[in-house]
Symmetry: C2
Amino acid sequence: MSMEKIAVIGTGLVGRSWSIVFARAGREVALYDADAAAAGRARSAIAQSLSALRSAGLVADIDAIQARIRPAKSLAEALDGAVHAQEAVTERVEVKREVFRDMDSLAAPETVLASSSSTLPASAFASELAGKRRCLVAHPLNPPHLVPLVELVPAPWTDPEVVRRTKALMASVGQEPITMLKEVPGFIVNRLQVALLNEAFALVEDGCITPEDLDKSITHGLGLRWSVVGPFETIDLNAARGVKHYVEIFGAKFFELLKPRGAPRPWAEQVVQEIDQARRAVLPLAEIPSRQAWRDERLTELAALRAGSSKE
Amino acid sequence: MSMEKIAVIGTGLVGRSWSIVFARAGREVALYDADAAAAGRARSAIAQSLSALRSAGLVADIDAIQARIRPAKSLAEALDGAVHAQEAVTERVEVKREVFRDMDSLAAPETVLASSSSTLPASAFASELAGKRRCLVAHPLNPPHLVPLVELVPAPWTDPEVVRRTKALMASVGQEPITMLKEVPGFIVNRLQVALLNEAFALVEDGCITPEDLDKSITHGLGLRWSVVGPFETIDLNAARGVKHYVEIFGAKFFELLKPRGAPRPWAEQVVQEIDQARRAVLPLAEIPSRQAWRDERLTELAALRAGSSKE
């Protein structure tokens, strides 16, 4: 296993999870947070996550993994000798801009600078930098140590070699990188999520289904199948002559479902209230953290299943 | 286990899978097809599916299950003494209308008549029947013995007691029923699927992503998470104060993602071609059946995982 050093900047949920991703794959991780107290607290949270991974049989020697994650006293120390820096600080453009300015001035020229931003493209915070060609977005789904997808979003000026190296790094540590061919707001995942949510809100607003049954339609149906085959492969496998044949049969019917919705409208306050009330009826606010833990246990089981089964 | 008899009408993929759903839960199944040869072929296909379920540890005595599935020589014989009839014939309104007319005239008054239709509401084929109040749609995802969701879609005139009984039956055989509160075209699952597909087609058409990477964004990201928590629960768990708080933070930003798409347009032939070519590059037409088998193996593993883990 390669011991190439990775810098993780920011010790919130995302930064801690990235540390696990890199360290469990044998990389040395320098973990830095401008808030020294936060960096201190990270250690026990990481230990807890590693222990859950061990229980699921996903990792063995968690002490060795933990030993590869070392707190750095300064940003300069974290970046020293790193091949890749993964920024995971607050999602505010002025904060990203400052961190990228500092990273670009401190890191060796060959260090790739990647942001975990879920909404801000690199153009929004790195376009003024001398080293902008080594900057890009590498957006994970939460938490990255359980959900392998990473969206790579280069700015127009990002060096293609930097994209290639980041893709190779992510694949080498067991993540599943996809590469955007241009910067668009919301990237891929959030655009797809919002398209589905928009229809979901409309179906509840129109009184067609309860919020709880809508969620079940995904967890026990569409989402279950989509976790195995993506949306295009799903329809490709559902017609004798593939996706083109499928669209010949169903394309016009599907358009008739979409058409009456017309142009998108903002979500109405009333339907948001209704969904919120339905959620609170099954999950009081105080129980959100324990349900997040439950979700992560299920995701861990799925990760263990995938690790064991014959992946395509 | 209850021995209540179920009639399954139609021995295609859907009808055979329904037979397994009911028979593995201890029900007696009378399997009928107007084409006697098709009914004969069903037996070996069912045996194959049962054998895969046994390999995954999902069922034990497959001979006993198979023995509970008996071919019926006539529709009358299939319906005789059945508490529930599950129609799974061709998706053509004139065929459904004829089968429902025959079922309504032959079945005892207390037999529920459910259609597996994925697009036709009961209003389209049962509204003229004397027994229309016992008719509804119970639409499965394919194949129902691996994907538990069932959409119950009552017509305006369907007896609420019939809906209640069907829901109880589906739950008792291990399916996950959801209930539509009114008939709308596409029901729930296909409406949600189409909303997401529509954005997926647009992202490929706009040159933002390859079809293959788009599928990965779901299988390794969004779909993976949605198989654990539905779309509303996902956002509910992603803000400290739940879904209302989440919409406060992200609602306006999300609307800005949707707005530029404007009113829905039919899918362009060119993008359909592009996706079809991308699919054929990774999966030649001749390999669709083996990939379907691969998908079903993965779904079987997921079913086994869910059967073993602490379900919520």
